[in-house]
């Protein structure tokens, strides 16, 4: 089904999931969701989370699903793995608006990005790369061992890297 340039060792991070480590990680077909990478520049490890909504509203069962709980748990897990907060940087991709006319909360992608930016700022984690917004889907591949390279394949057929 999907482009898999890395082989079988790539961990796919589904909606609301996260992973910490040094193996390649990917998220398939981000729309209004945001793929957030927090990368440790010194250790060559990092984390990828597939965030769906800005706020957990007190829920604690799916930490990766919401921006607030996701950022907390990523920092906690990275610290537990030996990361120093001063070595952490972030990259974000996704947050698009695929639909214009349906009822519902159609600017959820934009809200996700806004909240993630603010929470990262509160934690003093700089955003070193981003590819957000627009009305296009994105599949992302994160390579912790290659300086935290993030490869982005878009629904319009373009391929990029941040």
């Amino acid at each position: 089904m999907s482009l898999m340039p890395t082989g079988n060792d790539t961990v796919i991070i589904g909606i609301g999931e996260y992973q910490v480590g040094s193996m390649p990680m990917a998220s398939i077909g981000l729309g209004s969701c945001v793929g957030l990478v927090i990368h440790d520049r010194k250790m060559g490890i990092g984390a990828l989370v597939h965030i769906m909504l800005p706020s957990s509203q007190g829920k604690t069962d799916r930490l990766g699903k919401y921006a607030d709980t996701a950022i907390d748990v990523l920092i906690k897990e990275l610290t537990r793995n030996g990361s120093s907060p001063t070595n952490l940087i972030a990259k974000i991709a996704g947050g698009s608006a695929m639909f214009k006319t349906f009822s519902g909360n159609l600017n959820i992608g934009e809200r996700n990005v806004e909240v993630i930016r603010k929470l990262l700022k509160d934690q003093s984690i700089p955003i070193k790369g981003e590819d957000v917004g627009g009305c296009v889907g994105r599949t992302i591949f994160y390579y912790p061992k290659e300086n935290g390279k993030l490869v982005i394949k878009k629904g319009d057929g373009t391929l990029g890297e941040i």
Partner: protein
């Protein structure tokens, strides 16, 4: 319109955790015609006609009377796709109305040519989805041998619509005596 029969398979019904949706709908670009459905309760969920990208040109060529397959999609293709969406989805809803005696009315269609997973996760997120951890997927395959077209219809009912469907299915299986 296609001068060929199109057959519709019996729906496959699955309950999928949101973290596993990518296993069922991926990031291969496809044409997606989307409808919001309204039932007896408003906003019953979403219906989606999926046409694999490789089939899109064959499908619209058959409708528009064209033969060139190596061409870009234009406005005529888009309007043909919306039309196919209307017809297929109406047929699907007629089927469910007959079987389950449940009325579902589609909204005007919206066409997206992009990654199916991206479209579907955006729909789920746009609903009040803090409490949504699973989606129910009804999938029907559409087959037209004459044109070798691969297509499916997905129904994502929301909670009230799903309860309505389940109640009517139970009544079908255990008719009140």
């Amino acid at each position: 319109m296609l001068s060929a029969n199109v057959s519709m398979s019996v729906p496959e019904i699955k309950v999928i955790d949101i973290s596993e949706i990518y296993k069922y709908v991926g990031d291969e670009i496809a044409a997606l015609v989307l409808f919001q459905v309204n039932g007896e309760v408003k906003q019953g969920g979403f219906l989606l006609l999926y046409v694999a990208k490789s089939s899109v040109i064959r499908l619209t060529n058959a409708m528009l009377g064209l033969t060139e397959t190596n061409r870009e999609l234009d406005e005529m293709d888009e309007s043909a796709l919306l039309e196919v969406g209307n017809i297929m989805v109406s047929a699907f809803l007629d089927g469910t109305a007959e079987l389950l005696n449940i009325i579902m009315l589609p909204s005007p269609p919206q066409l997206v040519i992009d990654m199916p997973h991206a479209a579907i996760e955006s729909i789920i997120a746009s609903q009040d989805s803090v409490d949504i951890d699973e989606v129910v997927l009804f999938k029907t395959e559409l087959l037209s041998d004459a044109h070798n077209i691969q297509s499916s219809i997905f129904l994502f009912p929301n909670h009230p619509m799903l309860e309505d469907i389940i109640r009517r299915l139970e009544e079908l299986l255990n008719p009140p005596t």
